[in-house]
Symmetry: C2
Subunit: 372 residues, 2 copies
């Protein structure tokens, strides 16, 4: 359940209560796709201020399997993370990875009907069938704290007609998810169930999707189908269409975004929750986020990125960011990190990922303080 | 300097005093070839009882360069490890990796003369010249605590004549190393300098090599040219030939070995120091060392190895070793570790390496206690 604590114009700060603890909003979720944040241990995530992480329904269903994780006592117990976990529904992966299977195995990658989605595992070609009910069942087996409905996420670009069909299906599937969720959570500690607004880059469809889902009623609302290839400037528009429709007493989650300046804009517009691969993925490529010498958080101007692989850091014995107190910056020089990347030592990935995650988590804490 | 504290038959326990602290013998050195123990941070090494680690002269010379490391304040400072470091001399790598360059670049990989060794970097084909003096200079730049002389390590099999030439060259080079080392350490805190006994599988040459080096006089003596392909049972013989010649008041180091039962045999024979890639390399392949339910350390029978990738561990929610208190065994199940390996998550390598290193370090501590 969500408690709004402070507002500054449209920006909000508050708290979400889950069965595994309270989370301060706005917040960022490190991504633990396959039951671990790449290269980072739970203790380390806690030490840099992570409040909640994101697991992936699709990946965990196929490997190692949600029933196995249930036997292990749920995902928290399996991966040893005792704070909240949000699981996405698998919709995005079923469509994007299923399509990839077509290339690998020469079969139709994805077959969508009103009942659900048939797709091939791109790793081995085995066939699977995902439905709204199945997605909820998997997420309950994972013992997720925040469960996402199973949605249809059309790729960009898609025609108005295609997106309209996806919106209608997403609404119908959200209803089925809620019904099944209510049946299955009668006798257990209740997780939260969030719906996902679709509608692509079409104003009428975004509004229609949001209105329909709000009418049904969920614990929170996500905005999906962004960062799928549409022009960047569309994102602000989509938020302007959708956010005013969403109830103020429910959390809002912008899925899969983004660069720091995008997150700041979205928080100012009234978004509470974020997840993104950028800090960890960029970190693994040696691209590091640095605070400039300024106290102000101004979009596009309070930070810079460096590529530590650059020759100019070869004999740079300063820390990556002297203002940062992460394990990397407290202990090691730019020259050392560059060396680790140059000789392909895995410690490089760990230190860089940790630093970038801390940059993101610190940013969220600062944004929260500015609003409160 | 070495202090013998206790003896049990031929087994010894003692202490080596280095410029960065005292090390209890017998001990095992985790391998930090390129300035980091793969996947493990210095704090973690300390937490599992590592007293000293091993850096590689050859690799650090080529990348990032010993002069760069000197500018960083030495290898301790560069990689943030404040306990002792031993550096091998690069002899083994110059011969084995230089030969590989031949395949890659179609040039003669290694050219040995009495002056030194010319070889190609197998990564990019650039030519380098290593001499005894150069090896010492690099190791002093790295600010090593225990410096190894530059030796010639002939491959197995090699004829008596070939090995004889290598032994003579190794002795001559050891003299040059010592001379250069004495010149260069007049005004600095003195590291220790160890010689390396060669001689292959030939009794007369091993004895000749040991006698010649003891006559010159070093701070410690290593036995090199083992674990290079010779039959396993030869190792015990080599120790029987060499150890009685080595002075009792100097430490003995068996280079590059070995399996736990080999280490135990060598400790019983009177060896003090070990290094080996086995715990970390095996760990990275999912092979884990486990103590059996016995208090006795009996060669070949006090431990077993499991391959965590085996299907039978899929739903095994027990820790890898319930008697072990490493990060892996305290927190995670076999099923979770197997999953991490199955989906190629890098955390798998870290947890498995840490566990295996702790197994080795615990073994050494136990051996020491049995002798003391």
């Amino acid at each position: 359940m969500y408690k709004l604590i402070a507002k500054k114009n449209t920006a909000r700060s508050g708290q979400i209560k889950t069965k595994n603890g309270v989370i301060d909003t706005p917040f960022f979720m490190p991504i633990a796709t396959k039951g671990t944040v790449k290269n980072i241990m739970p203790e380390e995530l806690e030490s840099i201020g992570a409040q909640i992480i994101l697991g992936n329904t699709y990946h965990l269903w196929l490997r190692p399997g949600d029933e196995l994780i249930a036997k292990a006592g749920g995902l928290h117990n399996f991966m040893r993370w005792d704070k909240p976990i949000l699981t996405d529904s698998g919709g995005f992966q079923v469509f994007s990875l299923g399509a990839r299977a077509k290339t690998n195995f020469g079969k139709s990658g994805v077959k969508i009907t009103d009942e659900g989605v048939e797709f091939c595992d791109p790793e081995n070609g085995t066939k699977h069938f995902m439905t709204p009910e199945k997605s909820i069942e998997i997420q309950l087996n994972l013992d997720s704290d925040i469960i996402m409905v199973f949605d249809e996420c059309p790729p960009f670009p898609a025609s108005h007609k295609e997106v309209e069909i996806a919106v209608e299906r997403t609404t119908a599937w959200a209803k089925r998810c809620l019904k099944y969720f209510n049946q299955k959570t009668k006798k257990i500690k209740r997780p939260l169930l969030f719906a996902i607004v679709q509608g692509g880059v079409y104003e009428d469809l975004r509004k229609k999707s949001a209105q329909a889902l709000v009418e049904i009623g969920f614990d929170g609302y996500a905005i999906g189908g962004v960062a799928v290839g549409e022009p960047r400037e569309k994102m602000a528009e989509i938020l302007q269409w959708v956010l005013p429709i969403l109830p103020e007493d429910k959390p809002r989650y912008l899925m899969g975004l983004g660069r720091p300046e995008e997150i700041i804009s979205a928080v100012m517009a009234g978004v509470d929750m974020f997840d993104c691969v950028i800090p960890t993925r960029e970190g693994r490529h040696g691209r590091l986020f640095l605070r400039k010498n300024t106290k102000k958080i101004i979009a596009n101007n309070f930070y810079e990125t460096i590529n530590i692989n650059n020759e100019k850091f070869k004999a740079d014995f300063a820390p990556v960011d002297a203002k940062c107190d992460c394990l990397l910056c407290k202990n090691y020089s730019r020259a050392y990190l560059r060396h680790l990347f140059a000789v392909k030592e895995p410690l490089a990935l760990r230190l860089a990922s940790l630093h970038n995650l801390k940059f993101y988590l610190d940013l969220m804490a600062e944004l929260k303080n500015k609003i409160t």
